[in-house]
Symmetry: none
Subunit: 248 residues, 2 copies
């Protein structure tokens, strides 16, 4: 039995049953549960399913869908968001980029905070509508379903007119030489305008994104004033500090 045959079987079963269990698969495929576990690991890394305790469930096309929001292990992100909170003060105007890290941040906004938040992210806008002290401005444009942000010329034009105190950027990839990069051209263009429209840019980034790069460039790494990450003590942070960037 080839590994690929097992993959095939697992994905088919997932489609029909809407779940798979280690125990069942181990029995069906006549391999140990450890092998099943490793198979699911691979499939999960390729975004074909979601690992959960005891087995796996299908990957929903919507990253903010009910099931999945629960599964994003948000510990790191909550830690990052907590550090970011100290930068917020009443009366500021904030650009809040899309992404799960920034989403975690707005969820932690204290109830008495008074801000104006400009964002292209629909879930962030939705979340902040509940907050009595926050004025929400949504940038217009076509919605990217995968990341749930607006994008395009209209988005860019609204951001260009703006002068914000801080931009919180949910960065995709950081690299000391390549700079800030993302997987989509339009989104990268939008992020670029965000950086230019804010007095201070703070990147929220989990440590696994540091030192990586993607096809489309957002800006140079020196455009970042502060990088907030979960592993600021690592050697990983040193090169950024040498460039004069505050890494927390």
């Amino acid at each position: 039995m080839l590994k690929e045959e097992r993959f095939d079987y697992i994905l088919k079963k997932l489609q029909t049953d809407h779940k798979v269990l280690h125990t069942e698969l181990s029995n069906d495929l006549q391999v140990s549960e450890d092998t099943v576990r490793r198979d699911l690991e691979v499939l999960a890394q390729n975004g074909l399913l979601i690992k959960v305790r005891g087995g796996a469930i299908p990957h929903s096309p919507n990253p903010f869908a009910f099931n999945e929001r629960i599964l994003l292990h948000e510990d790191d992100k909550r830690a990052i968001a907590n550090k970011a909170l100290s930068f917020l003060h009443n009366g500021q105007t904030i650009i809040m980029d899309g992404g799960t890290s920034t989403y975690a941040l707005v969820k932690l906004f204290p109830p008495d905070l008074q801000l104006t938040v400009v964002t292209p992210s629909v879930p962030i806008a939705m979340q902040l509508m509940e907050h009595p002290g926050v004025d929400v401005i949504l940038t217009g444009g076509r919605i990217f379903k995968s990341s749930q942000v607006t994008s395009g010329l209209d988005t860019i034009r609204m951001l260009e007119k703006l002068r914000a105190d801080i931009c919180f950027m949910g960065v995709c990839s950081l690299h000391t030489e390549v700079g800030v990069t993302g997987p989509d051209m339009d989104e990268a263009a939008v992020k670029n305008v965000m950086v230019q429209s804010a007095n201070k840019v703070i990147a929220l980034v989990t440590s696994d994104k540091m030192g990586t790069a993607e096809p489309y460039k957002v800006c140079n790494i020196t455009a970042m004033d502060t990088i907030i990450t979960d592993e600021a003590g690592l050697a990983l942070a040193a090169p950024y500090r040498q460039l004069g960037i505050n890494v927390i």
Copy 2:
């Protein structure tokens, strides 16, 4: 039974019953009440429901009116939405105004429908993001928390550039002489532009709104091509028909 399956079950039950009880869930899912309690705890932390003594209730995205209004006249709105569906065809560009009637309509979109929908409403955009065949364009601007729509100059400018096949308007008040009116100046201005940017205007309106008026004028009643209501047979509809408006 995976934990995630329980989550799924709880959220589904919550959607249909508008409440869940520890005792019921414990029985349905064949786990102890403590486990149910812990499940509800997790779901509550992710903002998917509100824990209350004895069980949980759905999470209302904001303390203001929108989500409470969804439940108001639910049946009437679904009836109206069903009539509206017949106007939709693949390939059209639709302006979808905010409001609970239009929200009910997009919830009924058949899965194979192919449309471009332009809307100022955040909940409608959120809903349509899950629809594979619909391109969603969100108009930018400041968010009105009470009605969850964007408003202001940016919204108007994006709508002005547009030419849509149909505008579905969630009208606040209709009156044969005063015309279409609303309670807010900015929103009225936005609605006015919507009317001008569409070839055909269809008003979705519960019968209790007909013959009433509010402070700010949107447009003349003759700008409506069709009015869809729950009580089209009433004498209420006659004066509109005399003006050449199709009342269904």
